[in-house]
């Protein structure tokens, strides 16, 4: 299926465990992003990537690790999950066409609960 897909959709993990959220897009968009959404905070940017092997921190990167070995995949890893990382995580991509303002495309989200 064309588009941007996240997996899993729901995940429960224990404090201290490592967990990886997957994001895959079929458009070959250059830019990809990870946001978390929490009540009272809206969406906050965790990490983003401008291209394969190029990543950078967003607003709330602590406790997260990303990689982008292939253009189409942008996994987000919580190295040692904490309860404060309980959230809904959204992956997004942007075609980022030079000289044009472009929109972002979002996945359906992963609801992560850390117990």
């Amino acid at each position: 299926d064309a588009g941007i897909t996240q997996s899993p959709r729901y995940k429960i993990t224990e404090t201290g465990r490592q967990v990886t959220l997957m994001c895959h897009q079929t458009w070959s968009h250059s830019y990809m992003f990870w946001y978390r959404q929490d009540l009272g905070h809206g969406l906050r940017l965790i990490y983003y990537s401008a291209a394969a092997d190029i990543t950078d921190k967003g607003e709330v990167p602590d406790g997260y690790v990303v990689s982008r070995s292939k253009t189409e995949n942008f996994p987000l890893t919580l190295e040692s999950a904490t309860r404060s990382q309980t959230s809904v995580y959204f992956c997004a991509s942007n075609p980022s066409i030079r000289g044009m303002n472009t929109e972002a495309f979002f996945g359906q989200g992963t609801r992560l609960t850390v117990v």
Binding site: Y31, G42, L45, F90, N101, A104, G107, Q108
Partner: protein, 111 residues
């Protein structure tokens, strides 16, 4: 990066009425975007308005941008129950294609 601020935080109207929500920001932008999020779903892009545009339409949506007041409004005409969702304005961060989102307006359209 700057965050837009939506107003009101919540809005409840009857089907058929118009809904207006606003977004204010602080520094100059080259475009502003509006997104919708249905409960439990991802965000969906609605409309992008460039800094040299004052108004833009898409179906029942009308977006205005006043760069002198640093504000934008989203008008949904003849609302339907299916319009019930959260609406976010998003501001780009320079040339990096990053978007910063406001906290959103929760619109409830009652049948």
């Amino acid at each position: 990066s700057q965050q837009g601020e939506e107003d009101p935080q919540a809005l409840s109207i009857q089907e058929g009425e118009n809904a207006t929500m606003n977004c204010s920001y602080k520094t100059s932008i080259n475009n502003l975007q509006w997104y919708r999020q249905n409960s439990g779903r991802g965000l969906v892009h609605l409309i992008l308005i460039r800094s040299n545009e004052r108004e833009k339409h898409s179906g029942r949506l009308r977006v205005t941008l006043d760069t002198s007041k640093k504000s934008s409004s989203l008008l949904i005409t003849a609302s339907r129950a299916a319009d019930t969702a959260s609406y976010f304005c998003a501001l780009p961060d320079g040339s990096n294609y990053k978007l910063t989102f406001g906290k959103g307006t929760l619109l409830t359209v009652n049948p």
